[in-house]
């Protein structure tokens, strides 16, 4: 990252050219935002400075065990949160992530530690992840991505996994594994993981998917900014309605009937998503064992939803039959509170005429 004077000036020229072009042509203006090199350099220098501060020196030992590396990562994130002028609720811009990576490079260079592909993320609350590994899937890819995030805790709940998948999770340092010998059903694992987790932000991730950390970071930032539940915005990925899967249709219908048409097919039924600790306790850690019921309770409890453009892959539809039953239960629960037509009463029909006495 250190450049000669001539190289710096050439970089400045290049970036200058790009900016003038993007002003003149509308086609170019739509292209990806190019971060000025000066800002990246400033972040790098700030990273070096932060690493040289006395606080970091005293807290960080000289060893290079996984535990020390983890401590370094958390210290890095703490310093980055302080020096990035981050305020809760300002969202997560692409430039913030890039500058964070420069900051990280400076920080590690100053400490003479090996470079990492971490994703420094300004967060004021403490975050944890619950990884659901159902039916013996290998959670390695997912755990690799999660290791890049500033998580204080990673809990893998294995649902009927064999020794192979257990070993794969065991390879990752700093991961708590809950291994239950029997099959308990994937959604129960959510409940168990949430109960053991004591952080302010709880991210639920699918062990079999390996979602990119950049996408998951959006969920963490949304909760940090004051949302109760952060969902992955699937609507764009689903495309035209006629190509939607059945479960998405049912999810969208339930959201509409409960008075949240703006949520479309986004729901806590699908992974990944994140909860704040307070909202999770309000709904109840036991209740999230039936995800559709949790969605209904969250909407009924007027929790604040954030829909994040995470750009993550397609949800899996393997437990669709189970999920349909959950939606029946959830709608039934809502009907118990609000009546059988929820907030959509029938004021026009004279049902006595047709001989129907069912309502």
């Amino acid at each position: 990252m250190r450049h000669s004077r001539a190289m710096r000036s050439s970089m400045r020229r290049k970036s200058g050219i790009r900016r003038t072009r993007s002003k003149s042509s509308s086609r170019l203006r739509k292209s990806a935002y190019v971060l000025p090199a000066s800002r990246l350099r400033r972040a790098y220098d700030e990273g070096r400075l932060a690493a040289e501060s006395s606080q970091v020196r005293t807290e960080l030992g000289s060893g290079s065990t996984p535990a020390d590396i983890k401590r370094a990562q958390l210290l890095l994130h703490e310093s980055w949160t302080r020096s990035s002028n981050y305020r809760a609720g300002m969202g997560l811009a692409e430039s913030m992530l890039r500058e964070g990576q420069s900051f990280s490079a400076g920080f590690m260079d100053a400490l003479q530690l090996p470079k990492q592909d971490w994703l420094p993320l300004p967060l004021l609350k403490r975050a944890a992840a619950v990884v659901l590994s159902c039916g013996g899937v290998n959670a390695s890819a997912c755990l690799q991505q999660l290791a890049r995030l500033p998580l204080h805790e990673i809990i893998v709940v294995m649902d009927g996994g064999d020794l192979g998948s257990f070993g794969a999770s065991r390879c990752h340092p700093g991961v708590t594994i809950i291994h239950i010998g029997q099959m308990i059903g994937g959604d129960l694992a959510r409940s168990i993981g949430a109960r053991l987790c004591g952080m302010d932000i709880i991210l639920f991730a699918d062990g079999g998917k390996g979602d990119r950390a950049e996408g998951l970071a959006q969920l963490l930032t949304a909760i940090d900014g004051g949302a109760d539940i952060a969902l992955n915005d699937e609507t764009e990925r689903l495309g035209a309605f006629r190509k939607w899967d059945n479960l998405s249709r049912v999810k969208a219908f339930m959201n509409w009937s409960l008075g949240r048409p703006d949520l479309h097919a986004n729901s806590v039924v699908s992974l990944p998503h994140a909860w704040s600790r307070e909202s999770l306790l309000a709904v109840g850690t036991g209740a999230i064992a039936v995800p559709a019921l949790a969605q209904q309770a969250a909407i009924g409890g007027k929790l604040r939803f954030a829909q994040c453009p995470c750009g993550l892959g397609a949800p899996r539809e393997d437990g669709a039959a189970l999920a349909f039953g959950d939606h029946f239960e959830a709608l039934q629960a809502a009907m118990k509170q609000q009546g059988n037509r929820l907030a959509l009463p029938d004021r026009v029909r004279r049902r006595g005429v047709s001989g129907g006495g069912w309502q």
């Binding site: 099959m183 308990i184 059903g185 959604d187 129960l188 409940s191 168990i192 109960r195 609507t235 764009e236 689903l238 495309g239 035209a240 309605f241 006629r242 939607w244 059945n246 479960l247 249709r249 049912v250 969208a252 219908f253 339930m254 509409w256 009937s257 048409p261 479309h264 850690t285 036991g286 064992a289 039936v290 039959a321 189970l322 349909f324 039953g325 959950d326 939606h327 029946f328 239960e329 709608l331 039934q332 009907m335 059988n340 037509r341 929820l342 959509l344 009463p345 029938d346 004021r347 026009v348 029909r349 004279r350 049902r351 005429v353 047709s354 001989g355 129907g356 006495g357 069912w358 309502q359």
Partner: protein, 338 residues
């Protein structure tokens, strides 16, 4: 309309073919309210032409000659040429009808006459039941004059309640439900009857799922798709007993009950759940034929009513099949997290 094969090749047949071709333009539905001034003028001219033709066509001349002459045209009653309406209603009194066409009507003077006439052309042994409720524009009179049996209520019964009333009064083995505000040609309605008659279908639905080639669809379209998915019949897509035209067999009517037809999604859920043979038979684009009703939508949106109906259907499913709607919960041991 007229099949060229299998008919009696007579001079009379040639007559009927000519007049049939003349009559075909009359049956084309025209929704003038959506068109501009120029098209309205064209529509008016077409109507005048049609009336002229009706008044002076050879077929109508023959009709005016009385029943004897018409009888000789179709002595068996099963020829391709449908018998004249007045005569067919006279014959219906003698024997029980095979097909009952049920048309709920409320202030649909513009179209009801044509709708009744089209309905009468579907089958030789047909009764057309018009349930006029809250009509103040003379729809009932027009329907009666067109040959329908009219059940009249002074007050509006509410959306789709007319279907229950009509179904309870129907005598046919097959019941076809259409609306009084859109003229669907008899040729498009015949496949629904045919599916029940020949293929053993109990509920023959319109294969119309609404506009779905966009990311955010209308809530009613969403509700229909979701209900079919929850019923375990995603192959039905967005077809439903909510949409006309659809036909049901008498067996289906007895199974689901006439009263449930007032809440069509409920009837639909019952039909699928109680093991009836439900199938989407033919595509009739009713979205295009349906008139926009801005005033009604402003004061009393149909959207919330129909989505609420779907919730009622789901409630019935949970009562009938248990709280999970018949889906199992075998894998989960919930006691572990209590």
């Amino acid at each position: 309309m007229i099949k060229p094969s299998g008919g009696r090749r007579t001079a009379l047949h040639a007559h009927s073919r000519r007049s049939g071709a003349a009559g075909s333009s009359r049956r084309r539905p025209v929704s003038s309210s959506r068109l501009g001034a120029a098209s309205r003028k064209a529509t008016r001219q077409a109507r005048e032409q049609r009336q002229w033709r009706q008044r002076y066509s050879y077929r109508n001349y023959l009709r005016r000659q009385g029943p004897k002459r018409t009888d000789s045209r179709a002595p068996n009653g099963n020829g391709e040429e449908q018998p004249f309406l007045a005569e067919s209603t006279a014959r219906q009194k003698a024997e029980a009808p095979y097909l009952s066409v049920i048309i709920p009507v409320m202030n649909e003077r513009r179209t009801i006459g044509r709708v009744v006439r089209e309905a009468a052309r579907i089958h030789p042994n047909v009764e057309v039941i018009v349930v006029a409720n809250g009509s103040r524009d003379g729809s009932a009179t027009i329907a009666a004059r067109s040959g329908a049996r009219v059940i009249e209520y002074a007050e509006p019964l509410g959306h789709d309640v007319g279907r229950s009333v009509g179904a309870a009064a129907a005598k046919g083995q097959v019941l076809l439900f259409i609306d009084g505000d859109m003229v669907i040609p008899a040729g498009s309605l015949k496949p629904f009857i045919h599916a029940i008659q020949q293929e053993g279908v109990d509920v023959a639905l319109n294969d119309y799922s609404g506009p779905t080639n966009k990311p955010v669809v209308h809530s009613v379209v969403l509700a229909k798709h979701a209900l079919n998915a929850m019923l375990g019949r995603p192959d039905l897509n967005g077809t439903s007993m909510t949409a006309v035209p659809h036909a049901i067999s008498r067996h289906a009517l007895e199974t689901i009950g006439a009263e449930s037809l007032s809440v069509p999604p409920l009837a639909h859920a019952r039909a699928v759940q109680l093991g009836l043979k439900v199938r989407a038979v033919k595509h009739v684009n009713v979205g295009k034929l349906n008139l926009p009703r801005t005033q009604r939508e402003r004061t009393n949106p149909l959207e919330t009513l129909i989505v609420g109906d779907h919730l009622e259907a789901i409630e019935w499913l949970t009562q009938h099949n248990g709280i999970r709607g018949g889906y199992g919960d075998t894998k989960r041991n919930r006691e572990m997290v209590r």
